[in-house]
Amino acid sequence: MTEMIKLFVNGEEVEVESGKNLIDALEKVGIEIPHFCYHPALGADGNCRMCLVGIEDGRPPVVPACKTLAKEGMKVLLDADNIKKIQHDVMELEFINHPTDCPICDQAGECKLQDYYMKYEGTESRMWVPQVTKRKMQDFGGGVIHDQERCVACGRCVRFLRQITRTGELGLVNRGDDCRVEFFPGRPINNRYGLNVVDLCPVGALTSADFRFKQRAWFLKRAESICHGCSKGCNIMVDHNKEKYEDDIIYRLRPRQNEQVNGWFMCDEGRMTYKLENDNRLEECTLAGAVRPLADIFADAERRIERATKVLFLVSPSASLEQLAAVQALAEKTGATVSAFSDGYIVKDDGDDFLIKDDKAANRAGVDLLGIAKSRTHFDNMAKEADVFINFGNDLSRSLSEEQIGRLFSDTWVLNGATHPGQLGAVMEKKVGSSIALRSWSEYHGVVVNCDGIAQKFVGGVMKNVERPDIVEMAAGLGSPATGTAAAWALVQKKIPALAEFGGFLELPAEGVKLTDNEAGK
Amino acid sequence: MYIDTLFSIFALIAIAGSLGLVLFRHPMQSALCLAVTMISLAGIYALLSAKLIFLLQLIVYAGAVMAMIVFIIMFLNLREKDLPEERERFTYLIGGAVLLIPVAWFMIKVMKSIPGVKNSIVGNGFGSIKELGQVLFTNWLVPFEIISLLLLVTLVGAVVLAGIRRESND
C-alpha cells in the first residue's frame, strides 16, 4: 500500500498518494489539472505552462503541477483568479495560429484543445494579423500524418521516440511561432511502436493514416479488450461502430493503460489486427458443402462423435480459458483427446524486450494451466488414429503446410470451426465434412492468461450482423456439459484455484490477476 | 310439415351449440356456442308463437347475458397457453355420457307417459305482448310486483357491494 498524505485544494482537504506529482495525485481523486506536455509515461517537461497552479504561502507562488511533488499539508490553489488567467492566456496563445479546422480534424471529440477551450477559455479570438501557415498533411512515415498548424509543440512525440523507443526520429525545430515538429531529413518514423505518437498527441497534429477520416470519434463505441496479436496481452480499447444498414465494424484499436502489462502503449502490428476482425470472415455454416442451419450440423456431428472410435479436438492457443474448459469438458464426456498443437504461432526472433513477443498466441499460458497437450508428436499420433477431427478455431495452416494437413486427415471426417477461411488450408477446406463460422475475439467475452501469467478479462462489444456461435456455444452444441460461459467459467475456477475467489469473470480486477508459477503446477 | 322442418333445424342447431359448449376447449368458443343455442331456442319459441318470450330470449339471453359473458371472457384475454391441460377430458366426456344414459332413458319414458296433446290454436293473440301483459298485471300482479321489488333489492345490493369503499383509501 502506498502511503497517503493530506493536502488542501482550494481550501478543501483531500487525501492523496504520496510520491506523485500534483497532476497524477489529484487525478486519482478526481481533480483535473489541465496539461498538454505532461504524460505519466514520459515524465514532466514543463513546456506548455498549462498546469501552473498556485501554492499558498509558497515560494514561488506559481508552480507547474507536473514538476511539483504532492507534499503533506500543501495548499494548492486551482480556482484563484490569477491561475484562471494563466490558463486562459495559455489557451489564447495556443490558438493564435491554430487553424481551427475541427470539422476535418480526426481528433475532434477527443481533443484537449477543444475540451480546454470549452472549459478554460471560451472567448473569441482577438487576433487580426494573418495566421502563420505551416505544412499540412506531412507524411511522417510509419503511418503517421502530421499537421504542423495544429501542433501545440508539447514535444510528447519527440520525447516518446527518444525515451521509449530510443530511435529519436523527431525533433522540435525553430522557436516562437515558427516552432514545429520535424523528422530528420531522410529518416521518417521507422519503428514498430511509431503509431503510439498518435495517441500521445493531445491535439490533432498527429493522426493515423489508417484511421484518418474513417469515422468521427464521438460515434465510436468502446469495448475494453485484450490484444490477441501476441502473448503479451496488451490492454486495448476496441473502437467500433455499427452504421445504419451496415455491419458492426472495428475502426481502430487503442492501448489502454495497465502498468502490470503494457503501460500506456502497444505495437503497430497489434493495432492493425482489427483488420482481420472486419474482413474476410467466414460467414456460413455448411454441412457436406451445403449451407445448413447450425442445429443440423450439431446433430450430425454429435452422431458422428458417438459412432467414432477415436475423436481428436484441436483448440486454439488464443481461445479464452472458458472456451478451453468447455472443449475439455466435452472431451471428457465423449472420451476424445484435446490438443492445442500450435507450433506455428511462435515466430522465432520476432519479439523484443518491450512489448512484442515471439509467441503470437494470446492464451498459451492458459493452455498449460488447464493441462492441454500441445506437442507435435502427440498431435501427429492422435491425428493418425482419429476418425473424427474437430477444429475449434485453431489456425492450423500456420503450423503445417497444406500437404501435411491433407496427409494427416486424408480419411478423417473433419468439422472445421473457424473464424477465417483457409485455417485448414484452402484445399483441405473443400473436403471437410462440416464447417462452422465462429465468433472472433472482438465478439465474445472471456479471460486469457498472458506470457507473464497474468489472467486478464476482456469484453467483446462488436455485434456482427451475421450471428455466429463462439467456441463455448459450439462445444455446448456438440454436447459439452458447460452449456454457457458461466458454466465454463465454473470449470475454469475448479482447475485454477487462484481464480476461484471471483464470482464471475467480470469481477476480475482491471489490471489482471497475477498467477504464481506454482498455480500452473496444480 | 314446414313448421316441423324448421323445428328440427332449430333443435339440431341448439343441440350442436350445446355440444360445442361442452367440447370446445376455449371459453370464448364455448360461450359463442351457448349464444347459438340461445338464438335457436328463441327460434323454437317463435315457432310456438310465443312472441314476447322469443324477443325476451333474444334481448335478454342472447343479447345481454351472453354478451356480458363474452365480454368478460374477452376481459380475461385467455390465450391458448393460459388454458389448463386437460389430458383426460375425453375419458370424462365418455364417462359422463355413459352415466347420463339411464337419466335420458328415464326422461324419454316420462315424456312418453305424458298424454299427447294435439297441436291446436290456443286462442287468438296467444303469446302476444298485450295478452301476456294483461295476464301479468291482473292475475299475477302481486307476485310480479314482489319479484320486481326483489330484483330492485338485488340491484341496489350489487351496487353497494361493488361500490368504492372510501374508508380504505386513507
Binding site: 470539422p103 476535418i104 498533411m137 474513417k214 444498414y245 | -
Partner: protein
C-alpha cells in the same frame, strides 16, 4: 417574438351551460351556417386546388436538401459529420475520404440522405459549419414507388440549385 397569450374566462359554470344541449345546439348552428353557406355557393372555400394551383413558398421553407459548391464547382462539404451527428431522424449517411480537388483535406466520398426517413427539421442546415447544406430548393413534393429511390445521393444534391435569390434566403435566416 413572444407568443400572444389571450386569457379567456373559464366557461361551463352556468346552469344553461350545464344542460349542455343548448351549447351543443349553438355549436351545431355554427357548423350548419358554414355548411349552408358553402352548399349554396362553393366559391368561398378556403381550399387551394393543389396540383393546378401551386402554393407560394417563403425563402425560409424547408424543402429538399441541396449541397452547395464553391464558385469553382467543388463541393463545400468537408465531411465533418456535424449534420449526421445532429440528425434526429438518423437519415444522413456520409462516407468521408481524402480530398482530391485540393481545397482542403477532407471531402465526402458519398453523401446520402434517406428522404423517406427525413423529417425536414433543418437541424443539418443549422449544424453545418461550412454552409454546405441548405434546404432552400423550394421542392416540397417528393414521391417514389420504392424505398431505394427515396435515397438521394451527392451528385443529385450538388446539381440542385437554390430556389430563391441569396439575399432573400439570408433575410429569411435573419427573421428567425
Amino acid at each position: 417574438m413572444a407568443a400572444k397569450v389571450k386569457q379567456l374566462p373559464s366557461r361551463g359554470g352556468t346552469p344553461a351551460e350545464k344542460v349542455y344541449l343548448i351549447e351543443i345546439f349553438k355549436g351545431m348552428a355554427i357548423t350548419l351556417k358554414h355548411f349552408l353557406r358553402n352548399l349554396w355557393d362553393n366559391s368561398n372555400l378556403y381550399v387551394r386546388h393543389y396540383p393546378e394551383v401551386q402554393p407560394d413558398i417563403p425563402a425560409r421553407w424547408r424543402g429538399r436538401h441541396r449541397l452547395l459548391t464553391h464558385p469553382d464547382g467543388t463541393p463545400k462539404c468537408v465531411a465533418c459529420f456535424m449534420c449526421q451527428t445532429n440528425c434526429p431522424a438518423d437519415c444522413i449517411m456520409i462516407k468521408a475520404g481524402t480530398r482530391i480537388d485540393g481545397v482542403t483535406e477532407k471531402m465526402p466520398v458519398s453523401f446520402t440522405i434517406d428522404l423517406a426517413e427525413c423529417i425536414y427539421c433543418g437541424y443539418c442546415v443549422e449544424a453545418c459549419p461550412e454552409d454546405a447544406i441548405r434546404m432552400d430548393t423550394g421542392i416540397y413534393a417528393f414521391t417514389s414507388s420504392n424505398r431505394e429511390e427515396m435515397k438521394i445521393g451527392m451528385t443529385e444534391m450538388l446539381s440542385l440549385k437554390g430556389g430563391f435569390p441569396e439575399e432573400e434566403y439570408q433575410k429569411g435566416l435573419e427573421g428567425e
